[in-house]
Each structure stands twice: as C-alpha cells, then as structure tokens.
Amino acid sequence: MIEARGVWARRGGTDILKGVSLEVDEGEILAVIGPTGSGKTTLLRLLNLLDHPDGGKVLFDGTDVSKDERSRFSARRRMAMVFQKPTIFNLTVEKNVSYGLRIRGVSGQARRDRSRAALRDVGLSGYENRRAFSLSGGEAQRVALARALVTEPELLLLDEATANLDPRTAETIEDLIRRAGGDGLSVVMATHDLDQARRLSDSVAVLVGGEMVQMGSPDDIFERPESDVVARFVRARSGW
C-alpha cells in the first residue's frame, strides 16, 4: 500500500528523521510509537505527502510519489489524515464532515447521507447543524475522524487521534478503526498509548531520535525487544 524507503527529514539544520523505512500492507494497522520528539508526526506528514522528504522516497502502490505533484495529488486522494490538534473549518459540523466529498464532486444528497452516517459512526448524530467552533476538543476530534473516514480512504493516518478523548469514546473510535482495518483500510497511527498500540495494531514501529529502532509484531516489540533502547521505552511506558 504505502512504503517509506530511507526517508530523511531535516528542519532548521536538525535531522528529524534519519533514513526511516517502513511498509504498510492493505488492511494492516501499523502503530508508530516513540518518545516525544522522535519524529512520529513528521513521518506521518511525509506519508501523507504534505511535506517532501529531504532524502529517500515514498512509494504508494509501488509508485514513487515523492516528487511529481500530479502523482502526489492522486495518491493523497486515496488517503486521509487526522491531526493531533484537528483543524475544524468555520462551518457546520455536517459541512465539515462532507468537505472531502464536496471537493471530490459527490452530489448533494449522497454527500448528506454519507456525512450523517459517518457522524453516526463516531457517536455524533444530531450534531449536523451545530457550528463546529462550538464543539469541545473531543467532539472536534471525532468530527475530524468522521471527515477523514467519510471519503472512504484506502490509507488512514492518525496522529494521536484518541489522545483528547475520554476512555469510552476512545474505545468507540478504536472499534471503528479495528472494523475499518477488517474492511481493508490500511492505518498508520502515531500514539503515545502503548496499550492501545498493542490492542489495535498488526505491527508496531518504534522511532527513537528519528531512527527506526525496531519494527515487528506487537508481541515482538513488547515481549522481545531487540535493544535496550526499545526495552527501556516499552517498559517505562507500559504497565507490563
């Protein structure tokens, strides 16, 4: 589905990512974990083709989409990203959710139906006509998730998407992600919640200081860490 091949990202003279490689298959849920400042968000932005890598390449369905703007745009139309601090447009909730459909030219009634269904999925039925700016942080996060899912992306990128949610809502969202994964949606999620990474993901990538120090199944990462760095990180953060 998507592959990062030796990507580098440099910001203000500092290397944020140092030759990171990873691959996500169709229907796979990959959790990217690592300490704050390890480059998780930067990696997601590169995978979403929002930023250009300073080295290496990003391949979508085997095609290098790092450079050519047309192929980047085509690939972006098949994915969606939910940011850690979601930006909600100054519109109603329904118009926020239907944004991705509107720019794809989906007609009015289909747009409304799909947006309402997406809002139902994230537990926000009845919020359609509310001004999005009146929402709480958690509600805004759910609107952002509905807005991403309504476009039926093949790849969903989540940057701490459940960090602002109460445990019950986070559980609803996790169910949604799990179901979407079962339906063939590929997911890359950056998370600080190691329990969540273990519960939800098919594979886990550990980023430390911009380097991919280990990638494998959740059991590999949490039970058989390959280095002291990974062992220290997963043990310090999880209750196990």
Binding site: N48, L50, R76, T87
Partner: protein, 231 residues
C-alpha cells in the same frame, strides 16, 4: 451652544422629513462610494490573494509599500487623478473630470491599498493548518486556496467594509475630481464643507449626522463580520 442645539433639532427635522436635498446628496454619496468599493474589491481581493499565495523576491517590500499607501493623502490622489483626467492629461479624451465616474476612479485608487493589504492580512491570519487539513483531505491546490479564502471570509469582508468607510468619508478626491457640482457630483463630505462655509449650519449638521450614522453602521458591520458584535 444654542446654535448647535438649534442646528441639531433642525437637522433631525430635515432627516425625518426626508428633505429632498439631504436625500439626494446621501444617495449620491452612497452610490459613488459603493461603486468604488465594488470595483476596488473585485480588483484587489484577487491581487491580495496572488500576493499572499505566491512567494517572490521583494514580496515583503511590496506588502510594506501597500501598507504605507493606507494613509495616502486624499488630496494627493485627487491631484494625480485630476492630472490624468484633465483635458490635457492622458485620459482627458474620456471627459471624466467633474463627473461621478471620475470620482469613482479616484476613490477606487484611494481604497485599493487598504483592501489589498487587509486581504493579505486576513489570509495570513488563517494559518498553515487549514491548508494542511484541506490538502490532507484531498484538496487540489486551487481547492485549498478557496478553502483558505473561505476561512478568511469574515476578515476579508471587514477589509471591504473599511474600504467603503474610507471612500464615503474622504473629501479630497470628491472635491478635486467631482468639483462639488450641485445635483451631480455633490456628496456628503463636500456638501458639509460647502454649507458650513456658507453658514447653513443646519444642513451641514444634518449631513454630518447622516455621515456619522453610516460610519457607525459600517463599523458595527465590521465588528459583526469579525464576530465582535457586542464588544
């Protein structure tokens, strides 16, 4: 003091009775200022967008220059446009001097920097997260630009309203290009100047009250556009 009080009473009577002179001057003022604002907005909102969305050498200098022109003296614009439109000027053959359309040209030039500069400021205030969100959801470059402009709509409307306020309240262009011809190019500001010099304080005050009222309404609309209705 008595003169002012009597003037206020007489002015109120003229306004309430819809005095033909007052109505004629007010509608002329509004028509010219609204036309100037519409033309300036059509020309400068896209220019503001082009400047904001494109990076080019000297962009900061251009923005600084535009901001400097906010306080362009109206008499200077009046002088330049007068020279352009006068019979011996390059546009003299159009016969626009001392006409409402001549005034529209002058006022349009006067308020273009304000609307351009405030449009750039409005778009700059949106922040890169809106662009990132739009693009991450599949927006093309133009769709992302449109989304940013939609998010800045309140501030851009405020920019246009401020331009209208400046056009309505200026006197230099109206006097020099319009010539203050009764029933043709006489507007609120030039009429106030003339009637005060002639000693018709009541009419001046009536026109002044209308001008201030319109300015107040414009100011309320600007605040409304920016979401600060009550503050």
């Amino acid at each position: 003091m008595d003169e002012i009080a009597a003037g206020l009473v007489r002015a109120a009577e003229m306004i309430l009775a819809l005095d033909p002179t007052v109505v004629e001057i007010t509608t002329k003022s509004l028509a010219i200022a609204l036309t100037s604002t519409a033309i300036a907005a059509i020309l400068t909102v896209p220019i503001g967008g082009l400047i904001h969305f494109h990076n080019f050498r000297g962009k900061r200098v251009v923005v600084n220059l535009i901001q400097t022109l906010y306080s362009l003296p109206t008499v200077t614009v009046g002088l330049v446009v007068f020279l352009l439109l006068s019979r011996s000027g390059p546009l003299g053959s159009f016969g626009l001097l001392f006409t409402p359309w001549g005034m529209v040209i002058g006022q349009t030039i006067l308020i273009m920097p304000i609307i351009t500069g405030l449009t750039i400021a409005a778009l700059s205030g949106v922040g890169p997260a809106v662009r990132d969100t739009a693009v991450s959801l599949g927006a093309s470059k133009f769709q992302a630009i449109f989304t940013i402009m939609a998010e800045a709509r309140a501030a851009m409307l405020a920019a246009v309203l401020l331009g209208f306020g400046r056009a309505l309240s200026e006197v230099g262009v109206a006097m020099m290009i319009g010539g203050n011809i009764r029933g043709y190019t006489r507007v609120l500001t030039t009429a106030i100047a003339l009637e005060t010099s002639r000693g018709d304080v009541e009419l001046s005050m009536a026109l002044g009250i209308i001008l201030i009222s319109i300015s107040l309404i414009v100011n309320l609309l600007v605040n409304r556009a920016q979401g600060n209705w009550w503050s």
